[in-house]
């Protein structure tokens, strides 16, 4: 399986993603934001970080960078595109996934482990994951997902919500919502479910010595689903 990780100026989880993808068997290439052509890929990842310093609005400038035209075409033709954290913010700015990401409710950066409940498994990202609940890690300042009521109805009707913040038993309640996201939304798909944007970092959960192993579960499953 071939993957590509895009490096924007200011990306800082690009190497971590590269390490994770390779660990679980992807042949990964790093792609520079100023390139115009994507290498042949089964998966494209927009990594976390502070692309273009997150000036103007998080992800906004990156969404207009040269490589993004190819990424958008790739996504529109059914290619798998995953945006993590800043990558999610970039996806939102391109319009590939609906909604926006606001500043966290308490106006503070949050770095900690969270639990997320998988809402939909009829997609290549979460199909065959045995667990209902995963322990992931978040590290962001602008992860407060918001959309209009109409949009919310639409993404709910289409089952576009990927994961919700919850407790370890899968209970989705306000007290387990770290950033104020509407309906505890932590990640969403596009309509076709080939594009996934999520705030949590599975690449930081690939080792028992680090925060935990549920990221390993995610990546192992992902590469099997793509085969």
């Amino acid at each position: 399986m071939k993957s590509s990780v895009i490096t924007f100026p200011g990306s800082n989880c690009d190497r971590d993603m590269d390490v994770a993808l390779k660990k679980f068997g992807f042949k990964n290439k790093m792609v520079w934001h100023a390139d115009t052509e994507l290498p042949k890929s089964d998966l494209v990842v927009l990594p976390g970080g502070f692309s273009y310093g997150d000036y103007l609005r998080c992800g906004s400038m990156a969404s207009k960078s040269k490589i993004m035209k190819s990424v958008i075409n790739f996504a529109n033709s059914g290619g798998m595109v995953m945006g993590i954290c800043n990558g999610f913010q970039i996806l939102v700015e391109t319009g590939l996934v609906p909604g926006v990401l606001l500043r966290n409710k308490y106006l503070e950066f949050i770095c900690k482990n969270v639990f997320v409940k998988i809402n939909d498994k009829k997609n290549k990202y979460f199909k065959n994951v045995d667990n209902e609940v995963l322990e992931f890690h978040i590290a962001h300042n602008e992860g407060n997902y918001f959309c209009t009521n109409d949009q919310l109805k639409e993404i709910e009707d289409n089952n576009q919500i990927a994961i919700n913040y919850c407790d370890e038993n899968g209970k989705i309640e306000d007290q387990f919502n770290p950033n104020g996201s509407i309906n505890n939304i932590a990640g969403i798909f596009n309509k076709e479910k080939n594009v996934l944007g999520m705030m949590p970092h599975p690449e930081r959960m690939i080792d028992t010595s680090l925060s935990g192993e549920d990221g390993s579960l995610f990546f192992k499953n992902l590469i099997n689903n793509l085969k």
């Binding site: 800082n12 989880c13 010595s209």
Partner: protein
């Protein structure tokens, strides 16, 4: 502008210093030259009050590759790997403008580290604020934390440990000390010594603006009521540009085109160019029209003194300019050839074809003033005797809960959750433990780092306090299973012109020197911050020690959370019952006098090395050093972290229960071992003549003391975790 004595005084120079400048130049300096002298001769850059004493610190050791004098210290961690590290203060700017002050402190120290070719892999910080009741404290704390996070998070470097304290002596002068560790191959370390004639001098990074002019001078003076007016001297940080600068510099460093490189920190272009010339025993000629400027009509004076951030100065090999420029173009950064090295041993500046400054380099460096300031030796205060009636009404659990909720002991989760501590995927011990630990990427090795200070002890008796801080750092590293290698120090003091403050400095440095010498824990880098003073009121002496140690196999790392019910808990080291200057004395008995706990360096070394031996033999399940709040506080924290309880039986010492549980004797650790290993552990401890007590057995969720007093761990956890969160949300 005409330069005279008054202008010199306005620049922070005294009359004698001005006379010396005129004498050295054999003429009156022009305003640009005066600005350069004032920047190089201020306390912050010249170490004029501290140099004499710093020379006495032990700086050498088998593992030391580079000691003080470079951008940062470098130590060997084997297999051609080296760690570059340093701590630096950004106290004055952080008080005036907390967000930018703290942010640029973090940015500056990271630049010091990557200037040497190392990729930053961990940040730490030591931050100190006034009394929680003081009207400025909350906003300063919030601003500083946001600033540290804002910069470090954007750089993608994890903040793995830190220290936060509150004390009314910081009401008018907060402390913000930032520390960075970087990783470099031993054969790819870059230094700031220029070499060779007619080599191009290159400016890279951000453009130069009018921000931060005289920042270093401002940091070399006391505060008064007009300090808010100094806001324009605070630099403004742009972590995004620094991230680009980091990547571009490391890309350039992969080749062989750099002769010398120096970041533009305090006193900007002035100190960077002069340091490179001075170390290489060369001259430098700069055409100031070539310096990329952000604002129009900047004068030579402003260009030389600006402290705009995210800039570097490089001396390049001839003919490598194009190749280097390509890299900086790729990262969208300015790149300009602004001058060349010369044999003149002078710094010569040109602007609009005119020579605007011409100063022999040695007058700015070697011939800068050095003072042997007057200092007063501190007396060891008399011990207090605790009266039975003072403590008989106290209930242990109430006291414990109060101590766990004390601002200086309570959980700092509210702070470190705002720092990205997991980026780079190698943080194997997060903030909240004895030390932060990061794996060396792709290897089995890990590096532990901790930052400590004990202002109260240093204030009560500077010599003892100085020793204690080094020992505490030593202990924190050992507690996580790391072999201590070296330290960096950030020496925060009041005015050196006051003989008491100067005495505190001299004796703390002496204490640091004695302990680091004895423990073979040399000082490889550091920074002095004087004038942490508002009018006549100085801070408590606060030397902060950043220690670094190595864990050869990261799987042997130890954490402090209790692991298993029925395991035994031991106290390593003798408890004498020293209460003076303890949290118990100061906050519960309201007794502020008395000496700090004594330091016995032999015991420190022996106890520490023996604990390491136990760890190497895989006999320790969890460990934690005993510090503020004594044995019971240390144990309670291990219970909270491990969500376990403990049954404590006070050993049959002569001292009473309160003294046993709350005293702050040094050189002690709490360790958890498996019952079946007790004999092996006891043998090793006895063989090494290490005193230990059997304290108790791990149980489920309750803390019992001598079968009569109990409390649930949840209750203790709430006391420990709620204070800061509540304080900040009010």
């Amino acid at each position: 502008m005409i330069v005279n004595e008054q202008v010199a005084v306005d620049h922070g120079l005294n009359k004698d210093e001005y006379a010396k400048i005129c004498d050295l130049l054999n003429r009156t300096p022009n305003i640009t030259e005066l600005g350069i002298f004032s920047a190089m001769w201020n306390e912050h850059c010249s170490y004029k009050s501290s140099r004499l004493h710093l020379k006495k610190l032990p700086t050498k050791g088998k593992k030391v590759i580079q000691g003080p004098g470079e951008n940062a210290g470098v130590i060997d961690i084997e297999d051609n790997d080296a760690i570059v590290f340093k701590i630096e203060s950004h106290n004055h700017p952080s008080f005036i403008e907390p967000y930018q002050g703290a942010a640029t402190g973090v940015g500056g120290i990271m630049r010091d580290v990557f200037t040497m070719g190392a990729r930053p892999i961990a940040n730490l910080n030591s931050i100190h604020f006034g009394s929680p009741q003081h009207k400025k404290t909350k906003n300063l704390l919030r601003g500083v934390v946001h600033g540290i996070g804002g910069y470090g998070n954007c750089m993608g470097v994890p903040t793995i440990a830190g220290q936060t304290s509150f004390d009314s002596s910081y009401n008018g002068n907060i402390l913000v000390n930032a520390m960075t560790l970087g990783l470099v191959k031993k054969n790819k370390i870059f230094y700031s010594k220029a070499a060779g004639l007619n080599k191009p001098v290159i400016y890279v990074g951000s453009k130069t603006g009018r921000d931060g002019i005289h920042g270093a001078s401002m940091a070399s003076a006391s505060f008064d009521e007009k300090i808010e007016e100094k806001k324009p001297t605070v630099q403004v940080g742009d972590p995004f540009t620094e991230k680009l600068l980091l990547e571009a510099c490391l890309e350039l460093m992969a080749g062989d085109s750099i002769i010398a490189i120096q970041d533009m920190g305090a006193a900007g272009l002035t100190s960077s160019s002069i340091e490179m010339a001075s170390k290489g025993n060369l001259g430098i000629e700069i055409n100031l029209n070539k310096v990329p400027c952000r604002e129009t009509k900047m004068t030579p004076y402003e260009i030389m003194l600006s402290e705009s951030q995210e800039r570097m100065l490089i001396v390049l090999e001839n003919g490598k300019e194009e190749q280097a420029k390509k890299i900086f173009d790729k990262w969208n950064l300015d790149f300009a050839v602004i001058g060349k090295t010369t044999k003149s041993k002078r710094i010569e500046l040109y602007f609009n074809q005119e020579k605007v400054a011409d100063i022999p380099v040695n007058t700015l460096v070697e011939k800068s003033p050095m003072y042997d300031r007057k200092w007063k030796k501190a007396k060891l205060p008399k011990k207090n005797k605790i009266k039975k009636e003072d403590i008989k009404h106290l209930k242990i659990i109430d006291v414990l809960k109060k101590i766990l909720a004390n601002p200086n002991v309570c959980s700092k989760e509210w702070i470190w959750q705002q720092y990205d501590h997991t980026v780079m995927g190698d943080t194997i011990q997060k903030p909240g433990g004895d030390a932060g630990v990061i794996r060396i990427h792709g290897t089995d090795k890990a590096v532990a780092a901790s930052v400590d200070s004990s202002a109260v002890y240093c204030w009560a008796h500077p010599l003892t306090g100085g020793k204690q801080v080094v020992c505490e750092s030593f202990r924190n590293l050992i507690s996580v299973g790391a072999k201590p290698i070296a330290i960096t120090n950030c020496l925060n003091f009041g005015s050196p012109e006051n003989d008491e403050n100067m005495g505190e400095f001299v004796e703390c440095v002496q204490g640091i020197g004695e302990a680091s010498d004895y423990l073979k824990f040399p000082v490889v880098s550091g920074n002095v911050s004087f004038y942490n003073q508002t009018k006549d009121q100085g801070i408590k002496p606060t030397p902060a020690i950043g220690g670094v140690g190595l864990i050869k196999d990261y799987k042997n790392m130890i954490t402090m959370d209790f692991k298993e019910v029925n395991n035994l808990v031991l106290v390593i080291g003798k408890t004498e019952g020293h209460i003076d200057q303890s949290l118990f004395a100061r906050n519960i008995l309201d007794e502020k006098n008395g000496p700090p706990p004594e330091i016995n360096l032999f015991n420190e070394k022996n106890n520490g090395e023996t604990v390491l031996k136990l760890i190497d033999n895989k006999l320790i399940k969890s460990s934690h050093d005993v510090s503020l709040g004594g044995i019971i506080t240390a144990v309670a924290k291990m219970c909270i972290k491990g969500k376990k309880g403990i049954n404590i039986k006070k050993p049959k010492y002569l001292i009473n229960e309160m003294e046993y549980l709350f005293s702050e004797d040094q050189g002690r650790y709490i360790i958890e071992i498996n019952k079946k290993d007790f004999k092996k552990v006891a043998d090793i401890l006895n063989k090494n003549a290490v005193h230990f007590d059997e304290l108790g057995t791990i149980s489920e969720n309750e803390l019992y003391i001598n079968d009569k007093t109990k409390v649930t761990i949840d209750e203790l956890s709430t006391s420990n975790k709620s204070w800061l969160r509540n304080y900040m949300s009010k």
